[in-house]
Amino acid sequence: MLKLLYFARLRESLGTDSEAVELAPSVRDVAGLMDWLRTRGGSWSEELAPGRTVRVSVNLEMAEATTPVRDGDEVALFPPVTGG
């Protein structure tokens, strides 16, 4: 199982702040996870479209497209940060 978290604009437009998902065997990294989530269609394909700026963290560290994603990881999706 993978723990998925959503924050800020993504949390609102996707209508959820977290979910637990069974990883598809094709998903090996962040890019693969995004591809897989986009197949859900609707606001998923919209918000996670390649042109949109979405930041991803894996186990509390900022991640890149090639960062590996494994069973048991906590992955979060969110917009660029705006604190301070």
């Binding site: 509390l60 940060v81 705006t82 604190g83 301070g84």
Partner: protein
Amino acid sequence: MPVRVQAEDFDAGAEILALRRGNPKIGALASFIGLVRDVNNGEPVTGMTLEHYPGMTEKALENIVSEAQSRWDVLDALVIHRVGLLLPTDQIVLVVVSSAHRGDAFAACEFIMDYLKTRAPFWKKEQTAQGTRWVEARETDDRSAERWEKMSPASAAHRPR
């Protein structure tokens, strides 16, 4: 821990005093307070809600403070960042850095703020007369953070002591 994320307000004067009290090695103490303005991009703002990622936010702030400590001679550092509903004139963030010399204190304090703005998971949602809106990340904040990356160790060291 030199990092706190909290809904409650903070007493900047008391925090500064606690950081410097009784340490005769401190020659310089730089601090920064970020506050809620009643206007943003020319539009009136009546309030904002700050969201964060519990666990990751604290870790990111600790990493930023550690990075500052590795770059400059920092004696002590503190970051407090608020979350939840905030109104104009409310305090958002406090950064305090103590050092033997002012160049290190100023640089580390500004560095922490610049990195916090681009790397710590906080998100602002503003309230205006037209409703609420998520604040967009600013390109100028990215440029501010990038200044420190382009800075060589040599030029970083070439600050007043």
